[in-house]
Symmetry: C2
Subunit: 676 residues, 2 copies
């Protein structure tokens, strides 16, 4: 249930932070006054904006505008025809999330531009400036000269005022979003996806992202030259990258700003820019931990397809369901249950049936057993990116799962970049990018159809999140990065600093179904995974996902029951989340409070460097005593040394204490603070 | 007339330079054996190629392939099904050019790829390896599964094996190709146009370009990450960037290689890859120098539009024609002669009439006067990029000029990038990029229609050249870079090293109508242009253009008759051209031999640094004496000092002599060697 706790809304109010306006320049500042935005037109009548923080330039004067396929572009001969400001301070409640209450506190500036020649076309640019960054978007009113927009390119630019170090992955590549984040000087950024994160020499952290990616193509950033980044939208399935009828507003272009990396990872700005819950009662969305018949396939000891090694058998599913019920997990994912996996499914998504099981998988019996045990079967719909084929079966597939009590589905879109398939209005099948407008709309269709049946969705090879878990709370998590599976077969596997990079890059986007909990520590080739056992536990706190997997085989967990206890204990829904320290790609420590108890949890991970991190416990309730159940790297631990050396111990602590976390190379630490 | 002088063609010959072949890897080397190319498939069946020189990697393993809009991409599951080699050595004659005879000496490797699954689609990649670089292109045979190709993107990559310094201009920008070449590390290249030039620490010079850009979109290069450049074609006017029926071949992707910058500027590789003359007798194409009613408009003392300041009046044209005839010029360009200049012509190209003159310009009388004086009026067709509107009038406009004896036309496409207008097959007007497939085809229509009437074409705001002056010899020159006009009003104006950068970047593309010969040395604001008088003369030798302008006003030339003499003497068509020295963006010295006499000419220019360049005269005929007419920077000369200080002197020289050219800051030197 959403509760509106605080509401202070003043149209055209003028707190001190809203700066003076004049006819040719518009300005707005963050509520705390530190971030200022200036919007103006230049000598050619181009719309431009700039951003400063504490008076120091962050984004130098940067262009705004659009190219169209059918009418003249909209970027010159503009004047500011109107401007208005609004102050906003509200707090809203999340149905689930990293924190229960989210404050939305910003100043808004709406600047109306109009062409000084031709058709006098109009658009507004709306800036919302928060204490931790800003978002802006284009808002096109209904108008005779722009009834339907066929956008060839969005001309939005982001010209950094200073050099910086960047963490980023390449854009429009065959492997979608599954790349190791690279660290380069800003000047060596090529063609990058968003979120992209930067750190200046003065310590300022900057992240570029977007919010409310609805009926539009996702934005990549090409560094054209120098420090100038230009938006480049994913291609569409027609000549226009995006087609929309006016009135409409684009997604928000987001710039997060923070003195510390931590401030990026705890920002709610993107959520605040997304539309509120559109689904009404979503009490049926259930965060949970789950197991799966899955890792065996990545280890190549089982197969998705039928035959002797088939993983998705009735017996195996029941074994997993029993194990899940016994240990308090909410569900079991079973992949390879349905017809279609036996040919070249990668290239032939139309072979998949989403309602017909293999003969050795009795879905009625499996789901009946699940209901008996109080757990769920987590459904699986791999599409090979053939969204059109999936949509053809969507209603039937969801109806089936609804009837069987399958309340969460992992969907999959395994296809190279540019090779998703969608159906156009003329009936033709067209190739599409995973993050283009057509696929953005496909995901909304799946999520809303699923919501009608009280089913949650966890897409893999997805479109990026952009705060839309707020709008559609059954869109609980997703992939969209290099997950644990790369440690089974990746060349190279994930590096030791991968998770500490993800927190400040990919995870600015939203929850990630990374699938932690690897106790076996080895790839399918027997190579070491860059982790310790304690790090695997810590990831449950570090990498937020409302659907959180325990990746390994039941027998691996049974072999290490003491360590497994943390996975059983750790919640997946939080009252609050804090980042206690962190450096991108190096280390990070999270503290999170359980939403359903007074307990706190802590997770810390490091890269290849062993570290000692001093952590004051002042996040705990003052005056209360907690039993800290510590899972730490033991003597000799290290990802290239003893990966399973772990010390599990207890001590009493209070908020006045501080701990020194000793992390081994590639290691981590997990702590449960049990409130007395 | 073309003469075939030498022909040695051996199908499947195996000189030593053609390396051993096997079933999974194909190899070919340059005739001198220094450049080797290897083509193979990787573990995913991706087609890849690599290039080495003297055994040292130049292009590391780089991908080949295609994305389509309507069928699955073509880049995995490929195998090499066939390979063949061919040795070629021929010399052909240019109707006009930088040298009369061009040797085409290369080894060719044709590799046939076929898919191992699905529709077993096929394509060949054809490499031609010369001693100074290579070209490769995709060749699609007719096949049932690929009858018409709708190309979403060409997946060609160029991964440099080593770091380098790059000279480049940004791609897909509003100002098309009119940017100052920037010099950055390769790692800081963003989104670049071709030609782009690189220099490695070991001195190897590398230039990327393309040849035979026919019915296709031009190629830009985006540096995705590290040293990996990926082709990005200009957008099309339909969802596909390029649509073609098979069989067809793409443009050649060109890599020039040279130990010295000079080797790039004298390479004929791009010309050799272009199709031979398609027009037959082109003896009517007349290289010439010309004057124009033009610079006054840039200085804002005259206007294109009608009224008191109108430049294109009958009287003014006749004054120019008389001056041209008196001083041996071939023609006079008159801009602003036709109806359409009085409104917002930049945005309303459909206002232009290409057959109706302003009342104060009597085109019949002007052209009759021109004929009487033995010179021509050079026609002018500014389209504002509205190619469709121009094509509607093209036949009439060309017929008019043919009747009036106007045998050369400067066309213009002043519109921002992405704002050209073309007509689609359905009759709709679509916005297009200047270098997309639609405009590539437009230019061919104009050039071939003009050829029927024995008219030569000089487009401004053009598509890049790609050797097509060989195929269509009436496509004599073009703009497509920052010309002299930027010194009238550019912010900033051209820097002192601009011309020495152009020689090794833009001019790898082909002739450039830069419009040298500025004697007045000042912008419209009175600012100094970064040149000396001697440099302006040198540019006639340095910057090749068969239509070569003398930019300034007649009175400026009359005021400096001694310096003007060099402009009057210098030819525009060459028997041979040599680059004696040069460093990109710093300095360069050209020697060229007149095609119609035994005289040689030398031009040298420098950037802001004053230089002494020692130049052996061994290019002169041995045993012959020449009178060297020297035009050199005089005492106190320099672009920020005395711009017009010039010494004009004579001396006798032979091939055994050497000269030391003393160039002032921003200066130059021009020499005519008159054969005795």
């Amino acid at each position: 249930m959403l509760q509106r706790l605080v509401l202070f809304l003043a149209l055209c109010a003028s707190p001190a932070a809203l700066l003076a306006q004049d006819a040719t320049v518009a300005r707005v500042a963050s509520p705390d006054g530190r971030i200022t935005v200036e919007v103006a037109t230049d000598h050619d009548g181009r719309a431009r904006y700039s951003v400063a923080r504490d008076g120091k330039p962050v984004i130098a004067s940067s262009q705004l505008g659009f190219l169209f396929t059918d009418v003249a572009k909209l970027d010159r001969n503009l004047r500011i025809a109107s401007q208005s400001t609004r102050y906003y301070d509200d707090t809203w409640e999340q149905p689930w999330g990293e924190r229960r209450f989210v404050r939305d506190h910003h100043n808004e500036l709406r600047v109306g531009f109009v062409e000084t020649n031709g058709d006098r076309r109009r658009f507004d640019v709306v800036f919302r400036v928060f204490d931790d960054g800003l978002g802006f978007r284009y808002d096109f009113p209904a108008q005779a000269a722009l009834q339907r927009l066929h956008i060839a390119e969005e001309l939005t630019e982001f010209t950094l005022a200073e050099d910086a170090t960047a963490w980023w992955i390449p854009a429009q590549e065959w492997n979608r979003k599954e790349y190791v984040y690279q660290r380069t000087p800003l000047a060596e950024v090529g063609f990058a996806q968003t979120p992209m994160t930067l750190r200046r020499a003065d310590g300022l952290h900057i992240a570029f992202h977007e919010a409310a990616l609805l009926d539009y193509s996702a934005m990549n950033l090409v560094r054209v030259e120098d420090r100038r980044l230009r938006a480049q939208l994913f291609p569409g399935t027609q000549v226009a990258k995006v087609s929309r009828a006016a009135p409409f507003a684009t997604p928000w272009r987001v710039v997060l700003l923070s003195d510390e990396a931590a401030g990026l990872a705890t920002s709610d700005l993107v959520l605040n820019l997304a539309p509120p819950n559109a689904l009404g009662d979503v009490s049926w969305v259930k965060p949970m931990k789950y197991l799966g018949i899955w890792w065996e396939m990545h280890l190549d000891t089982r197969t998705w397809g039928s035959g002797e090694k088939h993983g998705a058998t009735t017996e195996e599913a029941i074994r997993y369901l029993d194990f899940a019920a016994e240990h308090g997990f909410g569900g079991v994912l079973v992949e390879g249950w349905n017809l279609g996996w036996d040919g070249d499914w990668f290239a032939n998504g139309e072979e998949f049936s989403f309602t017909e099981a293999y003969p050795d998988f009795d879905i009625e019996r499996v789901t009946a057993h699940a209901r008996d045990r109080g757990v769920i079967l987590i459904g699986h719909h791999e599409t090979s990116g053939h969204a059109a084929h999936y949509e053809d079966q969507l209603a039937d597939a969801l109806d089936l799962y609804e009837r069987l009590g399958v309340t969460a589905i992992k969907t999959g879109y395994v296809a190279d970049g540019g090779q998703a398939k969608v159906r156009e209005s003329d009936g033709a099948i067209r190739y599409a990018w995973h993050e283009g407008q057509a696929m953005a709309n496909h995901h909304i269709r799946v999520v809303t159809e699923a919501a009608k049946r009280r089913i949650s969705i966890n897409p893999h090879e997805p479109i990026k999140d952009s705060g839309l878990r707020r709008t559609y709370p059954n869109w609980v998590t997703r992939e969209g990065a290099r997950g644990m599976e790369y440690n089974a077969w990746g060349q190279p596997p994930n590096p030791p600093g991968h998770e500490a990079a993800l927190v400040f890059t990919r995870m600015l986007d939203g929850p990630f179904d990374f699938t932690p909990g690897l106790f076996s520590m080895r790839s399918r080739h027997g190579d070491r995974v860059a982790t310790t056992l304690a790090k695997q536990l810590a990831l449950y706190v570090v990498l937020y996902s409302p659907l959180q997997m325990a990746i390994d085989l039941p027998e691996e967990y049974e072999a290490k029951p003491e360590a497994f206890q943390f996975i059983k204990d750790v919640p997946v829904d939080w009252e609050d989340s804090r980042v206690l320290n962190g450096a991108i790609g190096e280390y990070v420590t999270f503290a999170r409070k359980d939403r359903h108890s007074e307990d706190w949890y802590l997770g810390a991970v490091t890269d290849a460097e062993a570290r000692q991190l001093r952590v004051p416990l002042d996040f705990l309730d003052a005056g209360r005593t907690y039993t800290a159940q510590v899972y730490r790297d033991g003597p000799g631990a290290g990802w290239q040394a003893d990966q399973t050396a772990i010390v599990i111990e207890q001590r009493e602590v209070t908020a006045a204490d501080a701990l020194t976390l000793a992390l081994a190379s590639g290691g981590g630490q997990a702590i449960r603070f049990v409130a007395q």
